[in-house]
């Protein structure tokens, strides 16, 4: 199992996550997609750390996971607030950015 295998897995996971982010209509589904993309990045970090023998890479991964957890909590809080205000969590109806 070489580095390429890990990287391929990570890229696949990233693409699945991206696909979820772009296609899901449910805001919670989009958050899940983002989590998947984050984890793809983590896999990359760990794989590079392992193959280059660098301990700080591993430590940084743990750090990233912490941040991801915080981000997920924040994202879910936003979704809940959004639901309270708009009575929906469908991304189709959230088009306030429209020019």
């Amino acid at each position: 199992m070489g580095l390429a295998h890990y990287l391929t897995l990570a890229a696949t996971l990233f693409c699945i996550g991206l696909f979820g982010v772009v296609t899901r209509r449910n805001t919670i589904g989009i958050l899940l997609g983002i989590e998947l993309m984050m984890n793809a990045v983590n896999i990359n970090l760990v794989a590079f750390a392992r193959f280059s023998g660098s301990v700080p890479g591993m430590v940084f991964t743990v750090f990233t996971i912490c941040v991801t957890v915080a981000e997920a909590a924040l994202g879910l809080a936003i979704v809940i607030l959004l639901f309270r205000v708009r009575r929906t969590v469908s991304a189709d109806h959230l088009d306030l950015l429209k020019g």
Partner: protein, 644 residues
């Protein structure tokens, strides 16, 4: 000695300027009316005194002196200077301007006694400004200062014609005067600029030296002198730009006397006299000047014969006399024109002020409402007759010699056509002026002519009866402030006439090389023609031996054409309404539908494109992420293959 003259002339120039500034800036003082008027008169008197002293210091033969300051410096020398140029012509003209200005200002105190104080103050402010600008014009050492003062007198003319600006006719006349003279002024400005390109200087003295040494190239000079003549044509009311002057009579009568008879309208003649050495290089333009001058004189004289408004008769006679002066200039003897300018300035101011006294008394300009005034206003009548005899060119009166000189000059120059026209004018001048005298001062209104001129005259006739019913109390000689200027001018024109008829038989400002030998029959025939005119007027309007209606009938078509002012105003109106407005409408159509249409199409395209483009901005975050992802993919692919 001569620098004294320049200094005195400068003092004379600055006094009215100070008076104008005082009245213009210190508004509470201006609104006091009478004190402001007396201040202006005081300064005008000072200016007159200084002008007389300057004229005496300069003398006839004194060297021209200049007192100039650099105004627009450029490349080591002055592009333009400002100051005074003093010689015999300018000091004599200065005396005339200040004299008439002083007398008119004095006269106005009585004439405008019914005006409110603020209006009176405004009037005297304008008068002071006019005196300053006219003197600046007369004394100007270069074309640039001349042009500025030229425009300033035009402005003063506009302001004073429109003095009673609540009267719509006065306001319209003011605008008409301004625009008509402006049309000529554009020509003058173009001429000055072209002349500067040719000569490299604005300075009159330098330019004259260039002309005399032959350094000024003659090629293309005709266009330049013609452009300058255009300016003079507008200011001095030459055909076809004469239309503004009769309408300018809507202003107060003293203004007509000062600006539209004695001084401002003669600025064009003065300019041509001042630059006669330049015009001498272009004989073809001089020929045009002579012909237009003579034609204007005849046209205006014919028009004057059919006017019923005393001021309009005088206005047309002014146009006619300006034509005389122009004809003299065209004949190459500009000194004769200038001499006639001076004598005309005196007696025409006298005539206007006399007419003003009549109007003040009767309360109307209409000749049919006057009649028999000689008994009620004996002094006015006497002075008016002196002015009329001067204008008719009778020996011993002011205009005699100057008119002879002009006729002699035109004849000696071989201009037979203009000479015949001018002789005819001399006859008509005597006729129409004595028509005024007889109608206003001696015989009553002519019942026959009233009946013959149709239904509006009946209204006039009944109005005349009304005025007789309750207008008698005013019909007496005017107060002293009005009589004094009249007497001064009357005696002056008599003195000038007697001096030049009996003592000096030559021009005061004539140059020896221009001296001409007039044929012996000239004087008797010119006087004879004038006397014939007087006789005809006497027979028609005093003795009623000749029926005025049948006399008018003899000249039926000419009379009806003259009543329509020879349709010149109509031609101008047509030119404006049909040609100019039609062209403007065409331009407007092109602008609205072609130029604007193109712009509208382009802007419509832009709007549509923008509308389409904003569809991709859905406002949904997912679409943006999709866009970012695709963009990133393309970037990666590009880096992989294009850059590798």
């Amino acid at each position: 000695m001569t620098t004294d003259a320049a200094g005195l002339a400068l003092l004379s120039l600055l006094l009215p300027a100070i008076s104008f500034l005082l009245l213009g800036v210190v508004a509470p003082f201006r609104r006091t009316g009478r004190p402001a008027a007396w201040l202006s008169i005081l300064f005008a008197a000072g200016a007159f005194g200084a002008a007389v002293l300057a004229c005496r210091a300069q003398g006839i033969a004194g060297e021209p002196t200049r007192l100039i300051w650099n105004w627009l410096p450029s490349e080591g020398r002055a592009l333009a200077t400002i100051g005074v140029l003093v010689d015999a012509d300018s000091t004599i003209m200065l005396v005339l301007v200040t004299l008439v200005a002083l007398l008119v200002q004095l006269y106005s105190i009585g004439y405008l006694s019914d005006e409110p104080a603020t209006a009176l103050g405004r009037y005297y402010t304008y008068q002071s400004l006019f005196a300053f600008s006219m003197m600046g014009l007369v004394l100007s050492p270069n074309f640039l200062q001349l042009f500025m003062c030229w425009e300033l007198v035009g402005l003063c003319s506009y302001l004073l014609i429109g003095f009673w600006y609540r009267k719509p006719e006065a306001a319209r006349a003011a605008v008409k005067a301004f625009w008509t003279t402006k049309a000529g002024d554009v020509g003058l400005l173009i001429g000055i600029v072209l002349l500067w390109r040719q000569a490299g200087t604005f300075d009159l003295t330098d330019m004259r030296a260039m002309v005399e040494s032959g350094a000024l190239p003659v090629a293309g000079l005709s266009l330049i002198t013609f452009c300058i003549y255009l300016g003079a044509m507008g200011k001095s009311a030459q055909f076809p730009l004469h239309v503004w002057l009769p309408d300018a009579m809507e202003g107060p009568t003293p203004v007509s006397a000062l600006i539209h008879a004695a001084t401002m309208v003669t600025a064009g003649v003065y300019l041509l006299h001042r630059t006669s050495w330049l015009f001498a290089l272009t004989p073809d333009v001089l020929l045009i000047v002579a012909w237009i001058g003579a034609f204007t004189a005849l046209l205006a004289a014919v028009l004057a014969c059919v006017q019923d408004d005393i001021k309009r008769v005088l206005a047309y006679s002014t146009v006619s006399q300006l034509g005389y002066m122009m004809a003299a200039i065209g004949a190459g003897l500009s000194a004769a024109g200038f001499f006639h300018l001076l004598t005309h300035g005196v007696f025409k101011a006298l005539l206007f002020l006399g007419a003003g006294a009549v109007i003040h008394g009767v309360g109307s300009n209409d000749l049919s409402r006057m009649g028999g005034l000689a008994r009620k206003m004996p002094q006015t009548a006497l002075l008016f007759i002196i002015g009329t005899l001067s204008l008719a060119g009778i020996p011993l009166f002011g205009g005699f010699l100057s008119k002879e000189e002009i006729l002699g000059a035109v004849w000696a120059h071989g201009l037979v056509g203009p000479f015949i026209l001018l002789m005819l004018v001399a006859f008509l001048t005597a006729f129409y002026m004595f028509r005024v005298v007889f109608l206003a001062f001696f015989a009553g209104p002519v019942p026959v002519s009233v009946a013959s001129s149709g239904s509006p005259a009946h209204v006039k006739a009944s109005a005349a009866h009304d005025s007789h019913a309750h207008g008698h109390s005013h019909e007496h000689d005017p107060p002293a402030t009005m009589l004094l200027p009249l007497w001064t001018l009357g005696l002056l024109s008599l003195a000038v006439g007697i001096y030049f008829t009996l003592i000096a038989h030559a021009l005061p400002v004539g140059e020896a090389e221009h001296a001409i030998e007039a044929p012996a029959w000239l004087t008797p025939s010119a006087v004879g023609v004038a006397v014939a005119g007087i006789l005809l007027a006497w027979l028609t309007y005093q003795r009623r031996a000749i029926d005025a209606a049948s006399l008018a009938g003899m000249f039926g078509p000419i009379r009806s054409a003259a009543l329509a002012k020879f349709w010149i105003d109509d031609i101008f109106t047509f030119t404006f309404d049909v040609v100019l407005l039609g062209f403007s409408r065409l331009v407007g159509w092109v602008d609205r539908y072609v130029v604007d249409g193109l712009l509208n199409v382009v802007s419509a395209w832009t709007l549509t494109a923008g509308d389409r483009l904003r569809m991709i901005q859905t406002g949904r975050a997912q679409d943006y992420v999709y866009g970012v992802a695709v963009g990133l993919l393309i970037l990666v692919l590009w880096m992989r293959w294009a850059l590798a």
